[in-house]
């Protein structure tokens, strides 16, 4: 049962990491052009990552 005191903070930390990641993608405009990004992956010379 004591393992819960380690698991709980750890799982929360993981979830917070996910939330921070989501915020990062949002700030870096990864949801601005879903169609374009889907197509961009098909071309090597277009593969410069999303626009900042």
């Amino acid at each position: 049962m004591n393992v819960i005191f380690f698991l709980l903070p750890f799982s929360l930390l993981l979830a917070l990491l996910g939330l921070w990641g989501f915020r990062w993608t949002l700030k870096h405009g990864q949801y601005e052009d879903p169609q374009g990004d889907a197509a961009r992956i098909l071309y090597d010379h277009l593969d410069e990552g999303p626009e900042g």
Binding site: L8, S11, L12, A15, L16, G18, L19, F22, R23, L26, Y31, E32, D33, P34, Q35, G36, A39, R40, L42, Y43, H45, L46, E51
Partner: protein, 723 residues
């Protein structure tokens, strides 16, 4: 955008300077749909000298070009034209506005709520298990609640902000919208849960507070996407229309500037086929102007030096130079814009379905909650238990499903219309459209196509004239070229402004233009052209504004739906009567001023009719704003498109009955959703009053009701079939 054959235009007004000496240009690119287009465009523009980066947003159709050296925007547009993608520069101020900060904030709130709702479950599930007789000591339960509080409280406060702010704004105006009960519900849930946890009580609802916000934010985000999408699409339509004015500097060079940057006294060039950007007076050239969008009159008006012309008139003849006598905001448009504002105010007084529902919901539920507390307490319940039951009632009836009921339906409905080329500007527009029982049409540009078509010409005549017509930019000549299709072009052509064009076809000299230019007897008619080979018989070509092909069918469809139809036109009696006869409308009035139209709409309104106005011109704009609902074709003037609730971009008038059908269906679905939520509350409220609700039941009830409502909304799509 139409390029003139003069010196290359200067488009530097559209550049936005950025730090580090670079500059940025945003363009709306037409026709880019696939990965291949994107690769072609980015490669082509990126290879131009001075271009550091060209990036196309395939979703919005916008190309952002960054220059690191001397910038040449005109070259970019030429390159895109050459690739087969016509492009229009965006006003830098508009481009900035297009940035959707509110949408990002909502998505972030949604992300936080999702995080909160997901992680609170970690602690809620053990508690729920404890409710069904599993072992869970009070100490462990309390620990779980405290941990829930730790996550749920900050998440709920952050994710709830959009609702709290909106509720506060509405309360300060002395009204209660849907966000008031939502905010009260969420805040009360948190407070009661805290006090229960501190007192060691068995029921805390931290999970309910966050998951409620999560579900509501989905609805809020859908509603926002709908409006944002419509707004940006409307902006794109306008950007394609007349965003620029060609200003002449002292040396007579043309430079393109945004229309709203035109100052009084500026000299502006208006090429044939373009619209007059602001009110002005002709200082050079002669031409005829098509005022159809402004007055509704279909016959063009001849203008020469010294005469006034108003913003929005289409130049049918030669190149004109005008001196601006008003800025864009003060142009003839402005008088009508003031009328429109008055109309828009009556529209904003319209109470949306969701707010109507809130108007019933708020007093009923809050009275019930108060009654639960007072009666429960006086019947011998403890103070704490009475408060808890009242709070449980507020939580379980919290309008989760109500918050989703309307946006979910409207987003599916407008998505369906969008695929058919009909743009819905807001959810309220759909609600108003569903109530319409009388349709008023404008004639020019709505029932008709709004551009001249060649009529009654033999194919051999068309083929004979076509080579010369192809060399001209005049709208009438273009109509001939269009009728003839692609083919040879005359050589040695020379266009005489406001008169016509001459050139050589198969070694024979020929002329096409006004009667006097070709040498025929002058009839004074503006909707005809004359053609002749040198020294041979003169041929007359007549043009008319054709009725849309499916107009009669669309009117029939409207009548079949029990709607009454009427024409209010600014054109002369003859053409209106003829058009009315062809499309099958018995009720028509002609020669109306913009003010007459508004008055007519008001009369109908006073008689209790809900009017849908379909119009395109400036003369319709005020009536569009005043009517209960309004539609405009994509070819309409910007003022009219702004005043309209829906814009249809295709050439078919069938969009009108279609939009009404979808709006009515959406209303039906929304009503179904309301009755389902009501039914749910009829069951849930007594359960809460008698203390039968625990956090587990609350969580299940909430998600099931939201799911049912959303699925019912999606039925809009299934019933109509995709595409």
């Amino acid at each position: 955008m139409a390029m003139t054959d003069l010196a290359r235009p200067d488009l530097s007004a559209f550049l936005r300077k950025e730090e580090g000496g670079s500059s940025r240009l945003e363009l709306l690119v037409k026709g880019a749909r696939c990965a291949g287009c994107m690769a072609k465009i980015e490669k082509g523009v990126g290879a131009l000298p001075g271009v550091a980066l060209a990036r196309l947003n395939l979703t919005s159709g916008k190309l952002a070009v960054t220059f690191n050296g001397p910038a040449d925007p005109a070259r970019v547009i030429e390159t895109l034209d050459g690739l087969g993608y016509p492009a229009t520069p965006y006003d830098p101020n508009e481009a900035k506005q297009a940035h959707d900060a509110e949408g990002r904030r909502l998505v972030m709130a949604l992300g936080v709520a999702a995080f909160g709702a997901g992680n609170v479950m970690m602690f809620s599930v053990p508690v729920w298990a404890g409710l069904f007789g599993q072992e869970l000591g009070p100490a462990t339960r309390e620990l779980m609640y405290w941990l829930s509080a730790l996550i749920a409280t900050p998440c709920a406060l952050y994710a709830g902000m959009p609702f709290f702010e909106s509720a506060w704004r509405s309360l300060r105006r002395g009204k209660a919208n849907m966000d008031v009960p939502i905010s009260i519900g969420v805040i009360l849930t948190l407070i009661v849960s805290f006090s229960e946890t501190m007192l060691g009580g068995p029921h805390a609802y931290f999970d309910a507070a966050v998951s409620l916000l999560f579900l509501l934010l989905i609805g809020r985000y859908l509603d926002h996407t709908l409006r944002a999408k419509a707004r940006s699409a409307a902006r794109d339509l306008l950007a394609l229309q007349a965003p620029v004015a060609a200003r002449l500097d002292e040396q007579g060079h043309e430079g393109f500037i945004p229309v709203n940057a035109v100052a009084v006294g500026d000299l502006l060039a208006v090429a044939p086929g373009e619209r007059v950007p602001v009110d002005g007076r002709v200082v050079q050239g002669a031409s005829s102007l098509d005022n159809a969008l402004i007055t509704g009159e279909s016959a063009p008006l001849a203008v020469s030096v010294g005469q006034a012309c108003s913003a929005g008139a289409l130049n049918l003849g030669g190149r004109l130079v005008i001196r601006a006598s008003a800025r864009s905001e003060d142009s003839a448009v402005a008088a009508i814009a003031r009328l429109m504002e008055a109309g828009a105010q009556t529209k904003s007084a319209y109470v949306r379905l969701a707010d109507k529902a809130a108007g019933i919901y708020v007093p009923v539920v809050h009275t019930l909650a108060a009654a639960t507390f007072i009666i429960g307490w006086s019947l011998g319940l403890s103070f704490r238990e009475a408060v808890l039951r009242a709070a449980a009632l507020l939580i379980i009836t919290c309008p989760c499903a109500l918050g989703l009921a309307v946006p979910a339906v409207q987003i599916t409905a407008s998505g369906r219309l969008f695929r058919k080329g009909v743009l819905v500007k807001s959810g309220a527009a759909l609600e108003r459209l569903a109530e319409v029982d009388h349709v008023v049409f404008d004639k020019t540009g709505v029932l008709t196509e709004g551009r001249p078509r060649l009529i009654g010409a033999a194919p051999w005549t068309v083929a004979m004239v076509a080579p010369l017509a192809r060399a001209s930019r005049h709208p009438l000549a273009r109509a001939v070229a269009e009728a003839a299709g692609p083919g040879v072009v005359a050589t040695d052509t020379h266009e005489v402004a406001g008169q016509g064009i001459e050139g050589v076809i198969d070694g024979r000299k020929a002329k096409l233009g006004r009667a006097t230019f070709v040498g025929a007897p002058d009839t004074g008619a503006e909707t005809e052209l004359w053609f002749a080979f040198e020294g041979e018989a003169k041929v007359r070509l007549r043009f008319s504004d054709q009725i849309r092909a499916d107009a009669a069918q669309a009117i029939g469809a409207l009548k079949a739906r029990g709607l009454t139809v009427e024409i209010l036109s600014g054109d002369l009696t003859g053409p209106v009567e003829q058009a009315a006869h062809v499309v099958g409308i018995d009720d028509w009035r002609a020669c109306l001023t913009p003010f007459d139209k508004v008055e007519a709409i008001e009369m109908l309104k006073a008689a209790g009719r809900k009017v849908l106005m379909v119009g395109d011109g400036l003369n319709d704009a005020a009536a569009l704003a005043k009517a209960h609902a309004a539609m405009a074709p994509g070819s309409a003037l910007d003022a009219s498109q702004n005043a309209a609730d829906l814009v249809f971009s295709g050439t078919e008038l069938a969009a009108v009955p279609l939009a009404i059908d979808v709006a009515r269906k959406a209303r039906k679905r929304a009503m179904e959703n309301f009755s389902m939520s009501a039914l749910y509350n009829v069951v849930a409220a007594p359960a809460a009053m008698f203390g039968l609700v625990n956090p587990f039941i609350a969580a299940i009830a909430m998600s099931v009701s939201s799911l049912v409502v959303t699925l019912n909304a999606l039925r809009m799509n299934w019933a109509g079939g995709r595409r």
